[in-house]
């Protein structure tokens, strides 16, 4: 059974929203990378916005444009991945609780703090009474939602909206400085792949995809494989497992025209990408994307957005390519993401 991506829209720290192609000029950041925001007044009225924090607005606007683009009759279900959910609302409630010694609290930020606020809001807006799932598992939150969509299509659904949404707040950014999560400032997002220093660059984003059972004129790509390994058990086991799964999808390693790596600039975590690059995909064309979006739990969703544009335009922008190798025709893109040698995810998208 073939599964297609019929809509793909991303709000990100770059000018990606509603863009048919990958922006050639990157916005440079020397600290945390935050979303380039659209004019939300075009999407929501003031009454509606009273309970929409920045992440909820980004999520709902990206979802709206994705649904719009896909031109579907019915939305059957929604699956959203978010590592930390509505962080700003969580922080507001937590801070007020501490500041007032559990005194002057109000319900709104508490309600908004639940992870499934994002998916629930879209269900209300589109009167979607079908399944509504929110996955919150660190760096595989988005991939889990994607896997969910594949199950839902296999179970007979036609159109599933899948999102990857997270936000970075100044407070969380400062908090994670205590565990040396980030590079020392000022850093440069454009240097993600050659910094050779520990720590990553902070990012965020809201990317939505329409995962559908039918191919249409709007189809970007076909999803050939979504494979997750909590632990890899070493390169040879990983290589063998991947080879088997690619074969199940009617592909081989040789068919992969581009491997998009989740390099995030952290010299420790990046060694695991190097291993997979050098030992499994040594002869392939390599690319990367987190200099566009920064690192966050659902950053793989930005990678998938990028892959939809690469396949549709048959063009890999210069600043996406890692190394010197190139290829004229890009049919099959494999995305690889991981988190310090845990939660390895492999997604294959194919032109169709």
């Amino acid at each position: 059974m073939a599964i297609y991506i019929n809509g793909a829209q991303a709000i990100s720290p770059q000018n990606t929203f509603l863009s048919p192609e990958i922006p050639k000029d990157l916005i440079k950041y020397d600290g945390m990378m935050q979303n380039v925001l659209p004019d939300f007044k075009n999407y929501f009225n003031p009454i509606e916005m009273r309970r929409m924090s920045r992440i909820i607005k980004c999520s709902s606007a990206a979802a709206a444009e994705c649904i719009n683009e896909a031109e579907i009759d019915t939305l059957n279900a929604i699956a959203v991945g978010t590592g930390l959910g509505c962080l700003e609302d969580t922080e507001k409630f937590l801070n007020k609780m501490i500041d007032t010694n559990e005194g002057m609290l109000t319900p709104t930020t508490f309600i908004q703090s639940t992870h499934n606020t994002l998916a629930g809001k879209i269900a209300i807006d589109y009167k979607c009474t079908g399944a509504n799932f929110t996955y919150a598992h660190k760096t595989i939150s988005f991939e889990s939602a994607l896997l969910e969509a594949i199950l839902l299509i296999k179970e007979g659904n036609k159109n599933i909206l899948v999102g990857g949404v997270d936000e970075i707040t100044p407070e969380n950014y400062n908090l994670r400085k205590h565990i040396d999560h980030w590079k020392e400032e000022p850093y440069n997002n454009l240097d993600v792949c050659n910094s050779n220093t520990p720590g990553t660059v902070a990012g965020e984003g809201a990317a939505y995809f329409m995962i559908s059972a039918d191919k249409t004129k709007n189809t970007y790509a076909e999803i050939k494989m979504v494979e997750l390994y909590h632990r890899s058990n070493g390169i040879s086991a990983l290589s063998k497992n991947l080879n088997n799964r690619l074969q199940d999808a009617g592909l081989s390693f040789d068919d992969i025209d581009l491997v998009l790596f989740g390099y995030n600039g952290d010299s420790i975590s990046d060694t695991y990408y190097h291993q997979v690059k050098d030992m499994i995909f040594d002869n392939h064309v390599h690319g990367y994307y987190k200099h566009y979006c920064g690192e966050y739990d659902t950053s793989a969703s930005f990678g998938v957005w990028m892959a939809t544009r690469i396949i549709k335009q048959n063009d890999v922008p210069e600043n996406v390519i890692l190394g010197k190798r190139k290829k004229d025709k890009i049919n099959n893109v494999l995305l690889y993401n991981q988190e310090n040698n845990k939660n390895h995810s492999f997604i294959v998208l194919s032109a169709c």
Binding site: K41, P46, I47, M49, R50, R51, M104, T106, P107, T108, I111
Partner: protein, 84 residues
Amino acid sequence: MDSLIRQLKEQIIDHLNLEGLSPDDINEKEPLFGEGLGLDSIDALELTLLLERGYGIKLENPQEGKKIFQSVETMAEYIQHNKK
């Protein structure tokens, strides 16, 4: 009464985070819920807390709010009678 109504409108805009609305956009005679401003049960709780913290009026049963929060005017009248 007029100044209380004005103050209430400002507080409602602030408490409910109605960014982009001004006091003049709210008609004190129009319903706050449903057809009028379009508020819902969560807003009712926020307004209950506004009464408690802004005017020292504690509603024992949140259901009482239904009558009081019909409009800005009914709210103002209730506050005038019950303010401590």
